[in-house]
Symmetry: C2
Subunit: 349 residues, 2 copies
């Protein structure tokens, strides 16, 4: 297992270590064609592979970045990761991927671990509980890019998708399909900023079309006792005709509920959801979804981070907001139902 090292190559090629080093770093001007060929051959013969650890120690750069996602099992994280990886790969960087599981302690220890490993920068879907740490490191000049969640207490590069616009479009689409009684299902608890924007988008769309807001249609649910909470929503006197779910966990719960209670989508209930799902098109009623530009979030984050690392001239911190895309399938009902709202003035605005 004894590794062949630069010194071995130098000896076998009959040159000095520094010449070999020059060769490795492609500074070919500093040597004769002769020596260059010879070194090349020896490296081949010996199957020499430079030790990146030693190199990193010396040049103080690892060409490695860290990515901290919420959960790699979640398609959102997966697509972002893939975007990051593809971009990095192409730029000569490697990626260490970590799952923080929305646990701020794990997040913190991962950040520290990555820094001890001397990564050149970190891309992170932050929990928000370590913003002080993140901000401090950023201030010291350590490259960090946040994605997916917005925080206003921290001046750091961020890559986000346009949650308001996405939610707005989704609900607007339902309205154009003729729906007025539109429910919103969101998880209860502290509102992450992005989730709040989705809810704002819901209200915004209703407002634009002068649809009065019925708070009995707005449900913040907990995972325990979910059935009762959805019963409240779907079995009240005037049931909604459509429902908008703000994330895929909610989507799965609502779809399961509708299926169990034999409520037909879209005939009895139109559904539009935030976040695309892998199988969305194969469901009983293929889902109309607001798809986030996940892969682009990844590539964009990677690009911004690498720009920082390679210290391009840049503003102190920048924020990139990428648009969501409404993918219309069948779960929101068909066009024929749309006439009802065709005369609403605001529709033409």
């Amino acid at each position: 297992m004894s590794k062949v090292k630069l010194k071995d190559v130098a000896e076998k090629a009959g040159v000095s270590k520094s010449t070999v080093s020059q060769y490795l770093n492609k500074r070919y001007e500093f040597m004769g064609k002769e020596t260059r060929k010879r070194i090349e051959k020896v490296i081949e013969d010996l199957r020499y592979q430079p030790n990146e650890v030693a190199r990193s120690l010396k040049i103080k750069k690892t060409n490695t970045i860290g990515v901290i996602v919420a959960n790699i099992l979640h398609p959102f994280s997966t697509y972002v990761s893939r975007g990051v990886e593809d971009y990095c790969q192409q730029r000569g960087y490697n990626v260490i991927l970590c799952n923080a599981d929305n646990d701020s302690n794990k997040e913190k220890s991962y950040i520290e671990m990555l820094q001890m490993k001397q990564v050149d920068g970190i891309i992170i879907a932050a929990t928000g509980k370590n913003n002080d740490l993140i901000y401090r490191e950023r201030e010291k000049g350590f490259p960090i890019v946040l994605f997916d969640r917005y925080f206003d207490d921290v001046e750091v590069d961020m890559v986000l998708s346009d949650n308001y616009q996405g939610a707005f479009q989704a609900v607007e689409h339902l309205i154009k399909m003729g729906h007025k009684n539109i429910a919103l299902v969101a998880p209860e608890g502290h509102l992450l900023s992005m989730r709040k924007l989705r809810i704002d988008g819901y209200y915004g769309a209703l407002k634009k079309y002068n649809i009065p807001i019925d708070e009995s249609y707005v449900k913040f649910v907990t995972t325990e006792n979910l059935t009762n909470q959805l019963n409240d929503l779907f079995r009240q006197d005037h049931v909604p005709t459509a429902v908008f779910t703000v994330n895929d966990l909610m989507t799965i719960e609502v779809l399961t509920y509708l299926k169990e209670n034999n409520i037909k989508v879209p005939d009895e209930m139109a559904v539009v959801v935030f976040d695309d799902l892998p199988m969305a098109s194969l469901l009983e009623a293929p889902l109309t979804v607001v798809a986030q530009p996940t892969y682009e979030i990844g590539t964009t984050s990677a690009r911004m981070l690498i720009e920082r690392i390679e210290s391009k001239v840049k503003p102190k911190h920048e924020q990139k907001i990428l648009p969501c895309q409404l993918i219309v399938r069948q779960s929101c009902g068909f066009r024929k139902n749309a006439e009802a709202n065709e005369n609403i003035p605001a529709l033409n605005a």
Copy 2:
């Protein structure tokens, strides 16, 4: 950005570098309670973080492993990765994750890159085209574990799922549901060993129950011109009453076809598929699937790799075959009887 280093800690604490080093490596026996406290405090004050790169260079160990998967977008890879990560995390190892995309060149360059980075070992879903390289490295003592694909030309640790048993059970289940005309849909082309086992499982089950084999039910399809090929299968004189698909790509194609042609599952066509799908339970007819123990494949691979790294006494190479699980839902025409869940971290929002 100037990092605080061990030397700074030593000076500030009024001890020598080696004492601090001892402290870092928890060799507390070699110092007074006094000095220990003092060092602790200085580290705290200075926010000192050891440089792992320097440490790795010295001790010739990075506590990092590489994982090469086919495609992180695929749930199979994702769950395996998560298994690997969780196990490694808990054992103090970090993971560099790479996508080879079934491209042997990418695979090769990733293997080399990971070795230059001095990873302690590699877990890989090999393409098979670099078996010589893999075998050679393994022979030199470099820890490598293969998963997902079996190769008989290489003596390396492997972690596999029992593809034969899984397929056999799936088809046996269909038979027990009363089906005799059971189709098989598999991708055409070179048979990876594991896929062959799935096909063998199909034949094996038919044989056990003395069901004559009708080769017109066995379709090897290409992705182009798929519709015609499925037409051949589903529109012949005596159509099958059930179909078994050998991987999830096939599953999606077949389900899409059935949906488009308005063939009802399970009433007109029973379906059992290899590989669980995230939304399998929410489909029009929740799918009966053969689920591979993906998460366990990950943890097991990681465990075996780390055992090699830490050179436990072990046989030259070992092979672990984990059982698949048949999850009965409704697509095969029967009420669910058993539905166990893997013990894996929940999909959080």
